[in-house]
Symmetry: C2
Subunit: 218 residues, 2 copies
């Protein structure tokens, strides 16, 4: 088993190097990039759609969609009028910097302000692989329950922003938002929260305003 360690180190090193190259390409194009990570079904694509509506043309958006298979999310976003490209990982449980690099020619980076990279739905593996993003945004959804930070601490400790999605379901489900945020802050004191509903629109204007400020740093 000892022989596997240097191999893993070389792979991680190569990924970090490619992530830096991606970041340089994003900065040169003047585009801010957000790596969106969450469980399957937390509402990543719906959240990107709702963000488009909330921004209402204030920023020019593109998307890179990561999935094991299918192009359903990419087709959905293209129908909403934004440039979007699909990465299919085969069986892969996360995106890596090389896959993202290979997808970039499919996006008009120079004409965009902000690109969402929707990672493979997975609370464990994606967080270990930098893609060149400026911000790491996690999404937790109310139906998942408020105990996830205890069980998947690594991701909650290693994101910049946490969106709490599907707050319109709070009346029907046991989820203590204050207790949840307290546990997450104990893992990650500087994290920023956005409780939102993509159904009612609650919280999306605050999120959109924050994105406009982020993109203004370009």
């Amino acid at each position: 088993m000892a022989k596997t360690i240097p191999v893993i180190e070389r792979i991680m090193g190569a990924n970090d190097q490619q992530a830096l190259a991606n970041r340089a390409r994003f900065d040169q194009a003047g585009v801010k990039v957000i790596n969106v990570m969450a469980s399957p079904g937390a509402g990543k694509t719906s959240f990107i759609s709702a963000t488009l509506k909330a921004l209402d043309g204030r920023l020019r958006i593109g998307a890179i969609e990561g999935d094991l298979a299918s192009t359903v999310d990419t087709v959905k976003l293209q129908k909403e009028g934004i440039p979007a490209v699909q990465i299919n990982t085969g069986g892969g449980c996360h995106l890596d910097a090389n896959q993202v690099a290979g997808s970039l020619d499919g996006l008009p980076l120079d004409d965009l302000d902000l690109v969402f990279i929707e990672n493979v739905g997975n609370l464990v593996c994606p967080v270990g692989f930098a893609l060149g993003e400026h911000q790491r945004v996690g999404i937790s959804s109310v139906p998942e329950g408020d105990d996830k930070p205890y069980k998947y601490p690594t991701i909650f400790a290693n994101i910049d922003v946490l969106v709490i999605n599907k707050v319109d379901l709070l009346p029907y489900l046991p989820f203590d938002v204050d207790a949840f945020m307290r546990v997450v802050r104990s893992l990650n004191p500087d994290i920023r929260f956005f409780p939102v509903s993509c159904v009612t629109g609650e919280g999306l204007e605050e999120w959109a305003t924050w994105l406009v400020e982020l993109a203004g740093d370009n």
Copy 2:
């Protein structure tokens, strides 16, 4: 990179070998074992709790709880009066047969009819690692949305049973059960479905009856 391939093959071979040894140990003890796989927050632990209630003493149950960190699920199940042991994977994204083997001395196998192994919440990685189980049970939950089989086909193609959980939320969420089952069947024609709600109890008697039959084969 070529050098990594034999290493991965050796690891998989070792896992399969240990899974066979686990299976032999289960069969000798006369216990049936179910590997439960699902996204984070699909309701794996709640489903095991609801199963205990529905069985109402008809079977003697034990549990092995897999999580990156914490013992919250194990404590929850122990409080309900069943023997349960925790495996913490550190950062690991799935259980493996060796971890399960190491946990077995914590369970009175000879005095049990059925053991649930609750895998790490992850729709991608767990399915690649046999644990010695007799049945692989996936759980999809209504709030995750009905498009998951398109995006995570591997797990849907490689389970014996699919529980559709949280059907009490169908009035509030867009989820087409028939269309969902049709897509899953296209990946896995022999799969068995159990639509359930752990809140209302719907569907749990059918599931409990099936478990009693399964354990009767011991």
